[in-house]
């Protein structure tokens, strides 16, 4: 570990923040649905892959950013419809039923991606150049910085939505207390569907950010979803802030662990997960686990 310079560490931290930004977005998508329904959507990753393929097809007909935003809109609308048609009828079912259904959806989207777009690895455009830029003697990739920027802007927009708009307040209220929400006139069912839409759009962004690095194939999100789960659990499954911090932290920790030559990149995942395990032993609810003060 001693042989590394400051510049090496700085590079690894930035590239860790970049992959961490993608974990954070996916973790955020998982947390948004988990908070409002108590269900972990195992299909989140495959939905992201599927929508990234949609973006891939759209980009044959238009330039990057229009395709980017159109994909987000399609992901949103598609997931709202999915919630209404597939999830709504089994809303009252036991959690295990819902978990099985989301696992089924994961397989379905995975199969659909392979069936429509084939098994090959496709090259996916990036809006950012892969050229390095030099800041204070350290070379950073513009791509990494771009991914970090997009992730942070999206997180900021979501925060503004949840914190300062009537819709955001209604979304939070529906998640916290669905019964009381109905009494003030909130259509809770639609809020849940909106949450699915939002999560799918965030997942689509995560997919489009990661595809240029990993290449686009139908199994692109398999390991990424595991990382996102790890990030969400690390942050505390109920906390959107936790998901973001957990994702970024996990990305950086994985990269720094890999720098240690005993571990290297082949062992970085088990070591990274061991770090999470240690954190959870100390804080079982995650770093930002929700604590509520109640008085009766």
């Amino acid at each position: 570990m001693l042989a590394y310079t400051f510049s090496d560490y700085a590079q690894q931290v930035v590239s860790g923040l970049s992959s961490g930004g993608v974990y954070a977005l996916l973790a955020l998508a998982i947390v948004i649905i988990y908070r409002s329904t108590g269900v972990i959507n195992f299909a989140q990753g495959e939905m992201a892959t599927f929508t990234t393929f949609i973006a891939f097809s759209l980009m044959h007909h238009m330039s990057y950013w229009p395709a980017f935003f159109l994909t987000c809109a399609i992901a949103f609308a598609g997931a709202v419809a999915l919630e209404r048609v597939v999830i709504r009828p089994i809303e009252q079912a036991p959690v295990l039923t819902l978990v099985i259904v989301t696992l089924g959806l994961a397989l379905m989207f995975n199969g659909a991606s392979a069936w429509i777009w084939g098994g090959a690895v496709h090259q996916f455009d990036s809006p950012f150049s892969t050229r390095p830029i030099h800041v204070a003697g350290v070379a950073f990739s513009i791509q990494d910085l771009g991914i970090i920027a997009v992730s942070l802007v999206l997180v900021l927009l979501l925060w503004l939505l949840f914190q300062f708009t009537k819709l955001g307040l209604a979304l939070r209220a529906s998640a916290l207390n669905p019964e009381a929400s109905r009494f003030v006139g909130i259509r809770v069912g639609w809020m849940l569907a909106f949450g699915w839409g939002l999560a799918a759009a965030i997942g689509a962004v995560a997919g489009m950010l990661t595809a240029p690095l990993s290449g686009l194939d139908f199994n692109m999100m398999l390991t990424l979803l595991l990382y996102a789960f790890a990030a969400a659990v690390l942050g505390g499954l109920e906390s959107p802030l936790g998901a973001v911090v957990g994702g970024l932290l996990f990305g950086v920790v994985l990269n720094l662990v890999a720098m240690w030559h005993v571990v290297g990149s082949s062992l970085k995942l088990p070591v990274g997960l061991a770090v999470i395990l240690l954190v959870l032993l100390v804080r079982p609810n995650g770093l930002f686990g929700r604590t509520v003060v109640r008085k009766v």
């Binding site: 009537k166 307040l169 209604a170 939070r172 209220a173 916290l176 207390n177 019964e179 009381a180 929400s181 109905r182 009494f183 003030v184 006139g185 909130i186 259509r187 809770v188 929700r290 509520v292 003060v293 109640r294 008085k295 009766v296």
Partner: protein, 230 residues
């Protein structure tokens, strides 16, 4: 014509029938109380009106059928303060008030805060950290934010100190007098409820056992013995 009318309403929780044909009416601008022991069907009566329990029979509000869903009730001007207050304990006082105004065209904080001036000092406090009495006041304030025409109050005195209960009902009285707000209040505390209302119903085992003006009920021998305790 009464603002709210229930005619032969039954309500079921699964296989259990909680209301066996309840009929009652509430005139606009009055306070009406529903008394009765635990399990008599008081809460279910309110839940029937706001549509959170399966019912048969006619429930008419302002000439239209209601009782389909709480969202619909809220949108037609019925504000229901459920037992246990339905406060969003994780959210701040101000967020609770904003949610109260969810169906209103705009949030009129000043009008409501005139009745609860202390709330504005606590606006950023998490609602769950308020005392029981303060939470009940907040629940009432939240309901008022919707500018309701009919207020449904479920056991507002539950678990509160007598002084707080008096304060609470004083505010309900003012709202009735100053804003012509119609109130249907369910209470186990019959003394307080009869003081605050002009008309009252006593429920027993899911049926209306006695009804009349609050004065009449006060003089009723069996009501006095069973519910007023003297």
């Amino acid at each position: 014509m009464p603002l709210l009318e229930l005619s032969d309403v039954t309500a079921d929780y699964g296989a259990v029938r909680a209301l066996h044909g309840v009929s009652l009416s509430v005139d606009e601008g009055t306070v009406v109380s529903v008394l009765g022991a635990n399990g008599a069907g008081k809460t279910t009566t309110l839940r029937a009106i706001s549509g959170t329990v399966r019912t048969s029979g006619a429930i008419t509000y302002a000439g239209k059928a209601v009782g389909r869903s709480p969202e619909q009730a809220a949108r037609t001007g019925i504000a229901h303060v459920p037992e246990g207050r339905g406060t969003f304990v994780e959210l701040t006082v101000w967020e609770n008030l904003r949610l109260g105004a969810y169906t209103a065209r705009r949030a009129e904080f000043d009008r409501v805060l005139a009745y609860f001036p202390w709330l504005s000092e606590r606006r950023d406090q998490q609602a769950g950290t308020l005392s029981g009495g303060e939470q009940q006041m907040l629940a009432l304030a939240r309901a008022l934010m919707a500018r309701p025409r009919l207020l449904l109050l479920d056991e507002p005195s539950l678990g509160l100190a007598p002084m707080i209960v008096r304060e609470l009902f004083a505010i309900v009285g003012r709202l009735n007098a100053e804003e012509k707000l119609t109130v249907l209040v369910v209470e186990q505390n019959a003394n307080v409820a009869l003081d605050a209302s002009q008309h009252a119903y006593v429920l027993e085992a899911g049926r209306v056992a006695v009804e009349g003006t609050s004065e009449e009920l006060r003089r009723n021998e069996s009501v006095r013995r069973s519910y007023l305790g003297y």
